[in-house]
Subunit: 389 residues, 2 copies
């Protein structure tokens, strides 16, 4: 049932080739001191860095830089970002990069003016934001996380081996996001397909939840079919604009709160994957792909009807003359074949997980309700051990 | 192709049973003089009127009333509404009713402070709004038009037999909309199913357009399947909360600009239907249903591939051993059977159209590009004559 919904998504999207042309217009809405946040050198290589800096200068902005945001942004980096934001007395944060950069920018935006330790307040204790928030705008260079149109931010603490995501409210959503599919062309294949699976995982984690089906399930089936269709094209031809643009648009709508309406979601694939990530620093999407098939096989008996529907509506399994179980299994087989086709990782061993890490990964994995089966530590351990084979 | 997109939808939705509890909180954001706009006596019978008035009073508002908004709001009524808005020096407009009431409220919101004749400026000449806009909030009592989360407003001029819709920008979108599926229970069956078909038509007019398919098409297939599933339940049991809530949510997302992204749309079913409406004052959704099957048969040869996809993905037509044409035709047959099942009108004769009106209806029907076939007056006349049989 859809139940009670409050929907409001204030992020303005500029999507399509050359959508950076709208940046100057947007910048006019904010103060002069801008913190430019980005990751490694890829935006310098591609020329995007120079382009952004020249637009910022032409807009009369004072630029403060915070570079070197890593794929799994750390607590230490967050503290560094907060310092820069305060030193520069920044009025606005411009994030240029993928989901990690956008996530990190939102974390800085809520943490810079926080009087306490932001890791403890906003990640360990998950409190609401009650201090000044620095507005954020994003220029997205890779897709997957949906961070460009939601309030999510994931931060990793290497010391305590914890990777925690906080989904902040609409006051933390990016004010605008610039989505140019062409920017995503230069991403290495490994990161590209990891992003594709991240999108898929976002949809599936919401789809396989809730007591009954509603409009959100139908929309998600549409998003999944669009993603599968275009991902197959993009792995063969990464510069296929149509495929890359459909994937970029799908990624945004997969995790911008819309399809979550009426769904419960325990996000256990993300919880387990994030704990794997805290131990290995592996690419986020690959930590999800490595456990997904095993996880879904594990919970299938508790939500068989939905897995049957998934097989028929998303994977076009012909149900004639088959049992529900057979249909559902065939759906997961087709999903696995698709994952092999696009080339995502199917085992955590491949990500560098060792037997010795398993207990720690289990211990670092928070457990939530909302899925078809509430997992316990033993379940998680079994899934992880299966993925070591 | 998705192409260039600017997406921003500022309307906040409060959805679900008792979502009116949020009204007081929202009213606090606006000034004291409120114009309460509604239609006939149904909200008085249902008790909603008393509830709204008591919340307005408890919020310290001065209430100005503009009642009697008709199903096809007229130019004369619009002038009356503008007068009331100006007399009351209103700060805010609260619309309580269906799509016509919401449409009309938006028309008043842009017209009240217009120095020229608003019908000429905003409907005949379709100009952008350059005067003060009075903010609008909506409490929806019937579904179909999507008016609760878009900038659309349709006004009818009986004198000149013109019914024209202007899609205004995001500054005219309702600031908030309250969507309680329970309010829709009391609607007579005829109006209820007309609304269902209006939703279907909104999706189909966007779906059957554009040069290629993209994520929007996949989302629309999901919305269509959700609508068909729930409409069949709702016609048998209008108080099935789950069905009515899914339909209400689907209606909003069918026409709030999302699924239009990357589509062209000539809106010809609406254009013809609106012209029929200007001559007969028939229920909007029924003017669409009366011509839809004939219209789609007419354009099918020009977009055969999409009609084939529609048949397979939406109507579960088994394509095996059939030609594209057969598959496409079977899809439209299933659609017609569905329309008969829910009980919508399939002939304009039933709506009171006479042979003498045909030429006038054709003349009053604007023709746009963007569909699979650009119609001419002769095409429209043929479709109308077919629907007289």
């Amino acid at each position: 049932m859809l139940g009670s919904i409050i929907y409001s998504n204030p992020t303005k999207l500029y999507f399509g080739e050359n959508s950076i042309d709208f940046l100057k217009e947007e910048l006019a809405n904010y103060g002069d001191n801008v913190l430019l946040i980005y990751g490694g050198g890829s935006i310098k290589k591609s020329g995007l860095y120079d382009q952004v800096v020249s637009i910022l200068k032409a807009s009369g902005k004072e630029i403060f830089e915070d570079a070197g945001v890593m794929p799994n942004p750390t607590v230490d980096k967050l503290k560094e970002g907060c310092l820069r934001a305060k030193e520069g007395n920044v009025d606005f944060i411009l994030a240029v990069g993928g989901g990690s950069v956008c996530d990190y920018a939102k974390a800085v935006s809520v943490s810079a003016h926080c009087d306490e330790d932001p890791w403890e307040k906003y990640f360990l204790r998950m409190e609401d934001v009650d201090n000044k928030i620095i507005p954020v705008g994003c220029i997205l260079t890779m897709v997957g996380t949906g961070s460009e149109m939601n309030g999510g931010a994931v931060i990793t603490n290497h010391e305590t081996k914890l990777k925690i995501g906080h989904v902040f409210g609409e006051n933390v959503f990016p004010k605008f996001s610039i989505l140019d599919p062409v920017y995503t062309y230069t991403l290495p294949q490994y990161q590209m397909v990891a992003g594709f699976f991240d999108i898929m995982s976002h949809i599936l984690e919401q789809y396989f939840s809730g007591e009954d089906d509603n409009t959100s399930d139908y929309i998600m089936e549409g998003l999944l079919k669009s993603l599968i269709h275009s991902a197959k094209i993009a792995v063969k031809n990464p510069t296929d604009y149509e495929a890359r643009s459909n994937i970029m648009w799908t990624a945004t709508w997969a995790l911008n709160t819309l399809v979550a309406k009426g769904k419960t979601c325990d996000w256990m694939v993300h919880m387990i994957g994030q704990s794997v990530g805290a131990y290995t620093d592996a690419t986020h999407g690959m930590t999800l792909s490595a456990i997904s098939i095993l996880y879904y096989k594990w919970i299938m008996p508790y939500g068989l009807k939905k897995f049957e529907r998934y097989a028929i509506n998303v994977w076009n399994v012909n149900p004639e003359g088959k049992t529900s179980l057979n249909i559902a299994q065939e759906g997961l087989e087709r999903m696995e074949a698709f994952m092999q086709e696009i080339g995502v990782v199917l085992s955590i061993k491949e990500l560098g997980v060792t037997e010795e890490m398993i207990d720690g990964i289990v211990a670092g994995c928070p457990i939530f309700n909302g899925g078809y089966k509430v997992l316990d530590g033993e379940d998680i351990k079994e899934i992880l051990l299966e993925s070591m084979k």
